[in-house]
């Protein structure tokens, strides 16, 4: 078990500040997911932790020891690359055993450990093949196996599933999570897919422009987003935002309402035109254009007795409003005035 602590970690490429004084504690044995839009510095931060890039300023502690000057291998972390980065000229067996071979472990131990890991990942039939003769999913498992063999202090995953199709991806998510829990090894997992973050994480760290926007459990982040950015990034379909008069009534510059908290109800006070209806079997989403100009999405409408073009009334579920100030930071939930329901609004 290991603790990874970042203190003011800063990295520049030329003039470009890629990570800006990041303070972060990666909990022991937990599955931490770094999530954020493309180009926000997730990969760079992971590579800084791995030791593949040098930190410009700040400290990186692994097990309480400053590791900034330690070589990648000596940090005891294992990385799974987005491109898998298998050794194409070696068999699966040699790929898995490479780390042990360069560490000069006894041959018997290498063979045993390699086979054990192959067993764990159902790779035994492929041990004597080269990576070129494997499917994408099998290559992915070899990449994970190569990280497992070393019994690392922590796993670093950089978007390991982005090259797989949807079904395989869903399957691998579960498999990775199962392995990690079984071994109890700390994991940092980078993705830009918020659904992947929500389903896999013990703890999510949301990044934006090289800074930590918010860190917390998936539930915390979903229920109490710290900013309009996080609110819009986590959750699918994304949160609805309304400004103007309706927000002002809540004492905010913008308010956010998740699609599941927006109900189509003749008693509602927000008028909107139905633009499109999406049926997904278990779910349905109604895309609406509010009179004030915003596009809104409402989820799970029970009786769809309207069509595109109709005008309907919307009601916000009680207590479901997220309020944001002029800087797009979340404002604390207001204490409801006695007797009055402030969540019922007119536009």
């Amino acid at each position: 078990m290991s603790g990874i602590v970042l203190e003011g970690v800063t990295k520049r490429f030329g003039d470009h500040l890629v990570t800006d004084a990041i303070d972060l504690v990666i909990p022991d044995g937990a599955f931490t997911v770094f999530v954020g839009p493309s180009g926000c510095g997730k990969t760079t931060l992971l590579r800084l932790i791995a030791g593949l890039e040098d930190i410009d300023s700040g400290r990186l502690l692994i097990d309480g020891v400053d590791a900034a000057q330690t070589s990648p291998a000596a940090r005891g972390l294992a990385m799974v690359f987005q491109s898998y980065a298998l050794y194409p000229h070696m068999t699966v067996r040699a790929n898995l055993g490479f780390a042990l071979k360069v560490a000069r472990r006894p041959r018997a131990e290498i063979a045993e450990r390699t086979e054990q890991v192959a067993e764990m990942l159902n790779l035994t039939p492929f041990l004597d093949r080269r990576p070129g003769a494997l499917s994408g999913g099998q290559r992915q498992r070899v990449a994970i196996g190569r990280a497992l063999v070393r019994e690392p202090k922590a796993f670093l995953f950089d978007e390991p599933l982005s090259n797989l199709d949807a079904e395989l991806r869903a399957q691998m998510r579960i498999e990775i999570r199962r392995l990690q829990q079984q071994l109890g090894i700390t994991a940092i997992y980078v993705t830009h897919d918020q659904a992947e973050a929500m389903t896999m994480a013990d703890r999510i760290v949301v990044f934006r422009d090289g800074r930590v926007e918010q860190a917390g459990s998936p539930g915390e982040i979903y229920r109490n987003p710290a900013s309009r950015f996080v609110a819009g990034f986590i959750g699918s379909p994304r949160m609805n935002f309304l400004g103007g008069a309706i927000a002002a009534k809540h004492g905010a510059v913008t308010i956010g309402v998740r699609p599941e908290h927006l109900a189509i109800d003749p008693a509602g006070t927000i008028s909107a035109a139905v633009q499109a209806i999406e049926y997904l079997g278990s779910d349905s989403f109604v895309h609406l254009g509010a009179q004030s100009g915003e596009t809104l999405i409402a989820r799970g409408v029970p009786d769809l007795d309207f069509r595109s073009g109709d005008t309907v009334q919307l009601r916000i579920a009680p207590g479901a409003v997220h309020r944001f100030d002029a800087d797009d930071r979340a404002m604390p939930a207001p204490a409801p005035a006695p007797g009055a329901n402030i969540f019922e609004e007119t536009v």
């Binding site: 990648p72 291998a73 690359f81 980065a85 194409p88 490479f98 360069v102 494997l134 190569r146 090259n163």
Partner: protein, 274 residues
């Protein structure tokens, strides 16, 4: 179907014509080497109907200079090529995988040294070599040819290494490979085709180099280029023997090319990423 076959036939004919045209000087040299001196200069030239003889080869091999020069050529070309690779592989590695904003400039600057004709630096080099006792020495030639071919080798290896995904090397670093292990067990096998073709090119260039080898060397260190040149001047022109000498000096390079060819054509990177 028929037009396609006709197209194929025409293409084949063109290919043969082009290959024969390119290879003609070499083939003619080969034929001439089996002629007598008289037949070699006879006009109109005889194509195949002459008295085939091995006398030219026998004569050359009997003189003993050939073996002496062959050994020198192997040492000079082999030694300088080995030295070039020993320097160029690490150089190209650092340029390809740890580039700085000066990398491009350095590459161009290295190549720019090849734009100067060698004669331009002949006098200073000659004087240095005279003072350092490197004239007519194999060491001198090895150093000079290595320096002359280094830019090309770095350039070739650099473009080759850039095809190797850097993440594979990083993966080996994460796996605990030392720099040496990274170069030898990961980069070298992946870039083997490129390294082989670079070696072959540099070797051929050194083998055929005939400015420095003719001007800095007199007796002790004469390679095959000097050996051939010696045939064309003093006792008049001996076409047949000159041809035989040329053929004999090509054979070793052909042999090396043939040995390397599997590596020259084979790419190994497939399946590394994605």
């Amino acid at each position: 179907m028929r037009t396609r076959r006709r197209h194929r036939a025409i293409a084949t004919m063109f290919a043969w014509a082009a290959s024969l045209t390119i290879a003609f000087p070499l083939l003619w040299t080969l034929l001439t080497s089996f002629k007598t001196e008289l037949e070699a200069v006879s006009f109109p030239p005889r194509f195949l109907s002459f008295d085939w003889t091995l006398a030219n080869y026998r004569g050359i091999l009997a003189e003993g200079d050939y073996l002496h020069s062959l050994v020198n050529s192997v040492i000079v070309a082999g030694g300088s090529s080995a030295l070039v690779l020993a320097l160029a592989i690490p150089a190209a590695w650092s340029m390809a995988f740890a580039p700085t904003h000066r990398t491009r400039g350095i590459l161009l600057w290295m190549l720019s040294t090849k734009m100067l004709p060698p004669v331009g630096v002949f006098i200073p080099i000659f004087l240095f070599y005279r003072d350092w006792g490197l004239l007519d020495s194999r060491t001198g030639l090895v150093l000079l040819l290595a320096a002359a071919n280094l830019p090309i080798a770095v350039w070739m290896l650099f473009s080759n290494f850039r095809e190797v995904p850097g993440e594979i090397l990083e993966a080996s670093r994460m796996d605990g490979a030392s720099l040496w292990q990274e170069l030898v067990s990961v980069l070298a096998p992946l870039a083997l085709p490129g390294i082989a073709s670079t070696f072959f090119l540099v070797f051929t260039l050194a083998w055929n180099e005939s400015f420095w080898t003719l001007n800095l060397v007199t007796t002790e260190a004469t390679p095959l280029t000097a050996f051939i040149a010696a045939f064309s001047s003093p006792q008049g022109l001996f076409w047949a023997r000159l041809s035989a000498a040329s053929i004999l000096s090509i054979v070793p390079v052909l042999l090396i090319g043939w040995l390397c060819q599997r590596q020259l054509v084979r790419g190994l990177t497939f399946g590394a990423v994605k």
